[in-house]
Subunit: 458 residues, 2 copies
């Protein structure tokens, strides 16, 4: 299978939108990620747009202005909903056509948008004037565990005698996550309370988590689904994937350690999961496809339902994920956020296509808008470790920060900022935007116990 | 807290609907469960109704006929949707009022419904003419593990050295299930394929599960939700519960055994979960409330966020669940379905209120229509064991069936029928209806590998 490179990927392509300079923006014309937005304080319901530089192309407005033709008409029409789900249902032909036509409208020299007198407020809004939402109504969220480096590092802390379990190299381990508590980047995250038990304590206690962590992940949004009972062949898996987001799977390690056996993580994760608002499509990611992770000699061959030999040259993805921490003291001092983790999705032991095909291999139906998380992205080097638990060796080695601070785990007021980008020789750099969250203190025990209950819709 | 018994629970109450005789029907006038239906082949979209005997009270039609007043108007209006979610959002005041008014309309001597000439086809349809749907659009499905008998029995098979883990008696263990593959009773269940590894085999294989099981569970449907970050106090927990269903959490034990560590069950469960169509409200269940399970001496005291001392007399629920098997040979011979399991929810170590409060204790937001499963309902006696894995001791002791057959696990063509009912001295017997599923053979490997992909909405 060859790479599907077309004119939208041309590194020489420039947009007439000045801020879309690839040297300065995550969103040059080679990217064109999709998201859901509305004008802050405006009357419109949230709807679909494409990010370009520091602006948003309003897709239903462009449709109304007669700027799309053919398949893109259907695709832009589907973007009138409050989530991208209707668009996701349509499939790659429609998405690709809409992205191609948007590329044409935004290309240097094209004047069709600017022929409309109110284009700056109606067709191509400043992103700063917009409120961003979750890109999809996420029916089910599945979190995988696809980094062998993470699985080995963390497994060693929880199970020193057997870090990597016997199943790991035979199938992409995953589990169901909580969909209701997925929030868009910028939503503050309240420190959860829960049960935990110290190793030397006879009994557990209930209280605010003391071991709050982030997890750097790639999130993949599902496009067209499959019928219940009908698996998805590995060769078709990527036809069911729409694109990639940044995902921070916040984790309360003390709660996790106490609750996770035998059924897996539950409340240690379900208090919040943060997702970036802009979904970079598989189309845009095409130039950054790479071979899947090279399994070390001696690793088992994959079974046929996971065998990507036919996609071997492009089953992986070269995307860099960087996580930055900004503490209250750093913000006070004007110190720039400090990079803690830097990992690449090419180091994942299992590819996105393998995760999806495995998920459906038992006949489980995926639906448009479902979210697949890669699991914590870690790599072979120390700086590649994608969570604090790994970086500080289970809390044993505090991390030194600028301004003389140290951290074992996240403190109240810390802000965590996840970013990502793709680079490839001969192609423009494209970015994934950011996924950020500020840690709020736990509710006071009295308030927590009082359990403020909203009586209406929540 | 006293029991909330009112005139709707009066054992002497009779309905003018003949088939609603408590001796013969799960749905006497003391029950009045809610569900979603539509006339088979009719033009209407699915909408809300109440079961009475062998008929369904069409709630939007009764509203249109002017048969409701006050809060019930709002509640019946919410039943015009294709799921009960809008009704669930309204809260107990509205549900209760609608149920009370429906009770009045159906009471012996009341003629208001029959004053309408077409009442038999418009207001009170034969259930046999209706198609039944899932009662709710289930956002998140959480499965607990609340039977200490089940946890001990199954834990002993998977971990003979430590059947019950140290956390079990301190918190209700649970995990996220798959929402997309929850199907309504009557939907056939295709045998899943997946990876499994025999103990004595060096490597896993991929193929149809050979160890297909059922799990008898109580399902609880969430009413009003809570805001993300705001726990629900244990004393308020039941205000967030709408009612109870029958739930069969189909399980492929060979897939489960190989995949479940370290993150819990995944594809072993996500191929299908069956739910009964009629939701028996907490109001209807009021006479069958009992004290919570008596913790044996020496068991730890519960922490305050799970302490139901104030609800002690009514925190539990006396409901009997019975599971019947019907094999192709039994159907051919005209042999009645054979009862395999018989358990009672009063034997659950954790109550529904404790499961819900624990779930929200970290600030996780529950939403109307979320589903909580109890986990397999087993009790102290052999006949109380709620899955085949327990009944046959991990496959070692085949079960004898009528007509000379035996079963270790489910075979293609087997039909599993889950029923349930509540009885209490001085009150009518009410039933939960049934939750049934017929096992279809696995897809042929070629078809499975071809992965028939629907390209549109699935």
């Amino acid at each position: 299978m060859t790479l599907r490179i077309d004119a939208t990927h041309d590194a020489a392509l420039r947009s007439w939108v000045d801020s879309a300079n690839p040297a300065a923006s995550d969103f040059p014309i080679q990217n064109l990620p999709f998201g859901i937005f509305r004008r802050r304080g405006g009357p419109d319901a949230p709807h679909g747009g494409i990010a370009i530089g520091d602006r948003i192309l309003d897709l239903p407005a462009c449709l109304a202005a007669g700027l799309f033709t053919g398949l893109a008409v259907q695709a832009a029409g589907a973007c009138g909903e409050t989530s991208l789900n209707a668009l996701l249902t349509l499939g790659r032909g429609c998405w690709s056509d809409l992205r191609r036509q948007a590329s044409g409208l935004l290309r240097e020299g094209d004047t069709r948008i600017r022929l409309h007198a109110d284009w700056e407020t109606r067709l191509l809004l400043p992103m700063g004037d917009a409120e961003l939402f979750l890109p999809a109504a996420i029916g089910d969220y599945t979190d995988f565990y696809a980094s062998v480096f993470h699985a080995t590092n963390v497994g060693g802390l929880f199970r020193p005698d057997q870090p990597l379990l016997p199943n790991y190299k035979h199938l992409p381990i995953g589990y169901h996550g909580r969909a209701s508590s997925i929030v868009v980047s910028g939503t503050p995250v309240r420190r959860p309370s829960g049960q935990s038990k110290a190793d030397d304590a006879p009994d557990p206690v209930f209280g605010p988590s003391k071991v709050l962590d982030y997890e750097v992940e790639a999130g993949f949004l599902v496009g067209p689904g499959n019928r219940l009972g009908e698996p998805i062949a590995i060769g078709d898996a990527e036809d069911h994937l729409f694109g990639m987001c940044l995902l921070n799977d916040w984790s309360a390690r003390d709660i996790q350690k106490w609750e996770y056996q035998p059924l897996g993580p539950f409340l240690a994760k379900s208090f919040a999961t943060s997702l970036s608002p802009w979904v970079v499509t598989l189309d845009a990611l095409e130039p950054y496809r790479v071979p899947a992770f090279a399994r070390p000699g001696g690793d088992p061959a994959v079974l046929p339902h996971l065998d990507q030999a036919a996609q071997a040259r492009r089953a992986g993805l070269n995307a860099t994920f960087e996580l930055f921490l900004s503490t209250p003291k750093m913000r006070e001092n004007g110190t720039a956020p400090f990079r803690l983790s830097r990992a690449n999705s090419r180091d994942l032991y299992w590819t996105p296509g393998q995760m999806l095909a495995h998920h459906a291999s038992n006949g489980c139906n995926l639906r448009p808008g479902d979210l697949l998380g890669s699991g914590t992205l870690s790599g072979p080097a120390k700086e590649n470790e994608g969570c604090l638990l790994e970086l500080n060796r289970g809390g044993k080695e505090p991390i030194s920060l600028p301004d003389g601070e140290t951290r074992r785990f996240l403190l109240d007021g810390d802000e965590v900022i996840l970013k990502g980008y793709c680079e490839a020789e001969g192609f423009a750099r494209i970015g994934l935007g950011e996924c950020r969250g500020l840690i709020l203190p736990a509710l006071a025990p009295a308030a927590a116990a009082a359990g403020k209950i909203p009586r209406g819709p929540a």
